[in-house]
């Protein structure tokens, strides 16, 4: 039985849950063993739809990346700078691995839990390579019960080296 260490309920009972085929949720599923989170970088704004067209900004942050601890990289035999695929129950994106001491495994309920982090600024047209996509493909369609502000800060993923 999955346990929430913070509350007797597993999830917020008033959080919106949708039921299309894309609304698949996985929590303690061995196919998606790592916690994923998304965030922004200084160089891009939101989906990057305005900033990815600015050559100077794309020069500084040219590609989708996923940050992970040295421990997880070792476990998955991923070298810094290698291309990887990040998958969730809902979708997949390619990214360049940034292996960093800024990420450290968590100790949750006596077990080691790894976390990876991705920006969500990338998408189509720019850069022109066609290989970069949005981390929003991974995140669940749920949100704050009152405002529906999307929940993109905690979800489950897997990460594997691109063959």
């Amino acid at each position: 039985m999955e346990k929430n260490f913070l509350n007797a309920k597993l999830i917020n009972p008033v959080a919106p849950i949708y039921d299309t085929e894309k609304d698949t949720y996985a929590t303690c599923d061995p196919r998606y063993p790592y916690v994923g989170t998304t965030y922004r970088v200084t160089e891009h704004w939101q989906t990057g739809v305005m900033t990815r067209y600015q050559p100077y900004l794309l020069e500084m942050q040219p590609q989708m990346f996923v940050e992970m601890s040295e421990q997880l990289a070792k476990l998955k035999q991923i070298q810094n700078g290698e291309r990887v695929r990040v998958t969730s129950a809902r979708g997949a994106v390619e990214a360049t691995a940034i292996v960093t001491k800024r990420f450290q495994p968590f100790n949750v309920g006596g077990g080691i839990v790894h976390q990876v982090g991705l920006p969500w600024h990338f998408g189509w047209i720019k850069p022109t390579s066609g290989t970069e996509d949005s981390a929003n493909l991974l995140t669940p369609s749920t949100g704050d019960p009152n405002t529906r502000i999307p929940e993109t800060k905690a979800f489950m993923v897997n990460v594997v080296k691109l063959a």
């Binding site: 100077y56 020069e59 500084m60 040219p62 940034i98």
Partner: protein, 241 residues
Amino acid sequence: MAKSFLIDTTLCTGCRGCQVACKQWHNLPADPTVNMGSYQNPQDLSFTTYKLVRMQEHVTEDGLKWLFFPEQCRHCIDAPCEATAGEPTAVFTNPRTGAVLYTAITKDLPAEEIIESCPYNIPRMAPDGTLAKCDMCQDRVDNGMLPACVKTCPTGAMSFGEREEIVEMANSHLMMARKKFKNANLIDVDTIRVIYLVGFKPELYHGFAMASNAEIGITRHMALQRMFRPFKRAGAQLMRG
């Protein structure tokens, strides 16, 4: 009259506004880049990149630090690149500002030798042999404006002004920084016009952060000796401002 910069890296957040401002003012193109497993990009200075915020992660005496080093030409007071070039129409020092300036005539000089003579590994060559680097925003400074990078910096990490004022400011910033970082120091303050304040050992930021730390070839070594020999002259110049 001559000028200097203070770059207090303990205040730098790595926003890279300076890197963009430099390209924008000089109308330089973006270099093609890929993510190499770091936020730093481009990977190096180039003929079209005069300013680059270098990024390193190190476990220091104060724990894990993400160190930022906004690199540019130091505008050496007795510039080895200028001595090596030996051709004032190609490389010269502007007496009004102290800026070491390169012209299109660098194309006719031995580029490799000039590059090798720079203790900070700054000049970069175009395919046709022309050299380029930071020009201290000569056009702006001559018109009473701040260099583009300094003007843009939102945290106060970069300052620009009369040399005496900047040296004084560097010392007072150092006193403040020492309260937080016991190994804080100024880099090569007597011999260059771009004074870096670092919180940790210079080599943690970049191999060429400090002249004497650089892995140097023979030409660079001789240039260094030339540079450090006339200490008196540099000192006198400092007094003259």
